[in-house]
Symmetry: C2
Subunit: 117 residues, 2 copies
């Protein structure tokens, strides 16, 4: 009965693969929920930075603010360490967002030359 | 009493500038709170994608999954429109995150060649 052994672990590996796909689906459902929260938070963040952009344009302040950015980066790196996020990634993430924000601020300034007198 | 008019709007513009700086401070306090939430959510997202990475390495699945990414991008663009976020930015944001995730998955695979047999 065991003269020709079954291919090594075949039934087991099929079961494992099905279990892995189920676990993958579970993880992806959580990731999708987190992404929805991230999109909403980013939308809210840009509502605030749009107001900042209008204030800056009205009061002739430059779109970028290197001192503020340095503070933000130091703070986010520290928060990242606390929450187990790679601080290098946290910094890259902030720079990615701030690049978009500065682009918005420049648009606001250029669309409203009266405000940016 | 009004023989020599005050320099045009000087007192007013000082008051306006102080008010603008106060408003800027308020907006920045909200942005800082949102950033703390974003960092925590990103940390949690990477905890899930690390598990996905281990599952993929153990079951010899490729680190990138273009079909899944297309679904995610379509969904996030739609969520972005609902929440008032630029869908082009939402897509760039997801690609930015996914690039980091794939880097993690490749690390997991390379650090654990036994798992990725």
């Amino acid at each position: 009965m065991t003269a020709t052994p079954a291919p090594r672990g075949e039934g087991r590996s099929e079961h494992d693969a099905a279990r892995a796909m189920a676990m993958l689906g579970e993880e992806r459902a959580s990731i999708d929920n987190i992404d929805a929260a991230l999109v909403n938070l980013l939308a809210e963040r840009f509502r605030h930075t749009q107001r900042v952009g209008r204030l800056k344009a009205e009061h002739d302040l430059p779109p970028a603010d290197p001192a503020r950015e340095r503070q933000q980066i130091a703070r986010l790196r520290s928060l990242a360490v606390e929450s187990g996020l790679d601080p290098v990634f946290a910094e890259r993430f902030l720079r990615f967002i701030v690049t978009e924000v500065i682009r918005h601020h420049e648009q606001i300034r250029d669309e409203d030359p009266e405000a940016a007198r």
